[in-house]
Amino acid sequence: MSKEFTVLYFASARDATNVQSEKISLPPQSTSISLENLTILLKRRHEKLAPILENSLYAINMEYVENDDQTILVKEGDEVAVIPPVSGG
């Protein structure tokens, strides 16, 4: 059985993907995926998501991460959220 992580989409990201969340398998034989490769993967799955990802942040397990931090890896069971520019208040 493949190892999976979850991706959540909010606001404009959800409008672009038409899903609230999905489970995605890690690449075969790997136990993790870098943020850079995650972005490539998500753009391939959802064409309309590309421009939104340019301006979004990721949160992993409810913590913001820096998108260009190469030490961060998404692992099995992680919950990744695509966070478009926020507008609470």
Binding site: A11, Y64, P85
Partner: protein, 148 residues
């Protein structure tokens, strides 16, 4: 979500009643209570807003807000804090967010409320969609946390 009965944070689809939230932070030892209420406006850049819809990554939003309160407590001597934010449809003129802080001296609660609403707008994973008569748009706060 509450922390030791001093910090109260909630994302809720229910109407926000200021007096209920004041009652959460009221304390006989605290001489000052400052509140900030955000209400939906009827006009945005000359377009008539029919209604607002708020969406949130609720568990993360509540966690972010509790962390902000924790950080505020390192900056100011404050007694109790409540942050309530509405989700779902909010009609024009109704309250979308309330921040309430009690403190012994007034400056602390005044400054903590201002800082908390600023930080909420920058960091809390909450999104507002403005619905006009001819369409809708997801807003972006000017304070947005920049992608590095």
């Amino acid at each position: 979500m509450t922390n030791l009965n001093k910090d109260f944070v909630k994302l809720t689809s229910e109407n926000l009643i200021l007096q209920d939230i004041i009652n959460l932070v009221k304390d006989d030892g605290a001489g000052a209570i400052t509140t900030f209420n955000g209400t939906t406006r009827n006009i945005f850049k000359d377009k008539i807003v029919v209604r607002l819809e708020y969406e949130s990554y609720i568990p993360m939003a509540e966690k972010v807000l509790l962390n902000l309160i924790c950080e505020a407590r390192t900056k100011w001597d404050i007694t109790k804090v409540a942050i309530y934010h509405r989700t779902g449809i909010v009609p024009v003129g109704e309250t979308s967010v309330i921040v309430a802080v009690s403190s012994i001296h007034r400056k602390e609660s005044l400054h903590a409320v201002e800082w908390l609403i600023d930080e909420l707008k920058e960091k809390a994973p909450i999104w507002k969609k403005e619905v006009y008569s001819d369409g809708s748009v997801w807003k972006e706060n000017a304070e947005n946390r920049q992608k590095c």
